[in-house]
C-alpha cells in the first residue's frame, strides 16, 4: 500500500512538472538592417532581424512615413506574421505606399515597428535605392 501511495505521488509530481516549459525572462529584440525602395517608390522593403531567446509567434507591424522634398506625404503600413524559433529570424516586410499619398523617394523617413514581445522602435531611417 505504501509503495502504491509513493508511486501515485511520483506520478502526480511527474505530470505537474514535466510538460510546462518555464517562461524565459530574456526578451525579444528587433534589429533593423536597412530600408530600400522597390518598384519606383511604390513600396519600401524593411530588412530586420528578430532575436528571441524564447520561441515566440506573433505579428510585426511596420509603418513608414515620409515627407518628400516636394512637400507631399508618402506613407504605408504592413502587418506580417512571424514565427521566431531557435534564437532568431531574418525578415523582410514590404510596406506598400498608401493610395491616398505619393510614392516614396530617396531620403529620410520615419519608421515605426511594433513586434510581439519586443520594445517598439520609432526612429529616422534613410530610404535607399
Amino acid at each position: 500500500m505504501r509503495k502504491m501511495i509513493a508511486t501515485a505521488l511520483a506520478a502526480v509530481l511527474l505530470i505537474a512538472l514535466s510538460p510546462a516549459p518555464a517562461r524565459a525572462a530574456a526578451t525579444t529584440e528587433i534589429e533593423l538592417f536597412g530600408t530600400t525602395l522597390a518598384a519606383r517608390g511604390a513600396a519600401v522593403d524593411v530588412n530586420f532581424g528578430i532575436t528571441c531567446p524564447a520561441d515566440v509567434e506573433g505579428t510585426a507591424t511596420v509603418s513608414v512615413t515620409q515627407t518628400r522634398d516636394d512637400g507631399l506625404t508618402a506613407s504605408g503600413v504592413v502587418v506580417d506574421e512571424f514565427s521566431c524559433r531557435n534564437g532568431g529570424i531574418l525578415n523582410i516586410a514590404r510596406v506598400t505606399a498608401s493610395v491616398l499619398g505619393a510614392p516614396f523617394e530617396r531620403g529620410r523617413a520615419r519608421l515605426t515597428m511594433l513586434v510581439t514581445g519586443a520594445a517598439p522602435i520609432n526612429q529616422n531611417v534613410r530610404l535607399q535605392n
Binding site: T7, A11, A39, R40, A42, A43, T96, V99, G101
Partner: protein, 139 residues
C-alpha cells in the same frame, strides 16, 4: 502485485495521454502551394491591369487569391485589387484577374510595380492563408 501492475499501466496511459493532449495544435496542413505573377498587362488606358498568375495547390483543394497591384505614377499612387476562387488541379494552373484601379488614386502606367498575392488554400482539414509580395512589371 497484479493490482500494482494494473495501476502502473493506467498511470502510464494517463501520462502519455496528457502529453499528447498538451502537444501544440498544428495548423491545418493543406499541402504545398505557390503563386507567382507571370504577366501584368496594362488595359483600358491604364484603368486596369490584367494579371496572370501561375498557381499550384493540391488536387481536391480550393484556392482563393487576392491580388493587389500598386505602382507609382509620377507623384501619385495607382492601386487596385481583385480576388478569385478556383478549384485546384494539382498542377500549375493559370489564373487571370482583371485588376481595376482604385479611382481615388492614379491610373496604371507601364513600368515597375509591386504585387501582393494573398492565397487561402482550403481542403477538408481546414484552410491555410499565405501572403506573398513580388516586384512585377506592367507592360
Amino acid at each position: 502485485m497484479r493490482r500494482f501492475t494494473a495501476f502502473l499501466a493506467v498511470l502510464t496511459a494517463l501520462i502519455i495521454g496528457s502529453v499528447l493532449l498538451l502537444a501544440p495544435g498544428a495548423q491545418a496542413d493543406t499541402g504545398p502551394s505557390t503563386t507567382r505573377v507571370v504577366t501584368a498587362d496594362r488595359a483600358a488606358q491604364g484603368e486596369r491591369v490584367v494579371v496572370t498568375l501561375s498557381a499550384t495547390c493540391p488536387a481536391g483543394a480550393t484556392i482563393k487569391v487576392v491580388v493587389t497591384v500598386t505602382a507609382a505614377n509620377d507623384n501619385r499612387i495607382a492601386q487596385g485589387a481583385r480576388q478569385k476562387k478556383v478549384d485546384c488541379a494539382g498542377t500549375a494552373q493559370p489564373i487571370e484577374l482583371r485588376v481595376e484601379h482604385n479611382p481615388i488614386g492614379a491610373i496604371f502606367i507601364v513600368g515597375a510595380a509591386t504585387a501582393t498575392t494573398v492565397r487561402t488554400v482550403c481542403d477538408d482539414s481546414g484552410c491555410d492563408t499565405i501572403s506573398f509580395d513580388e516586384t512585377i512589371r506592367i507592360s
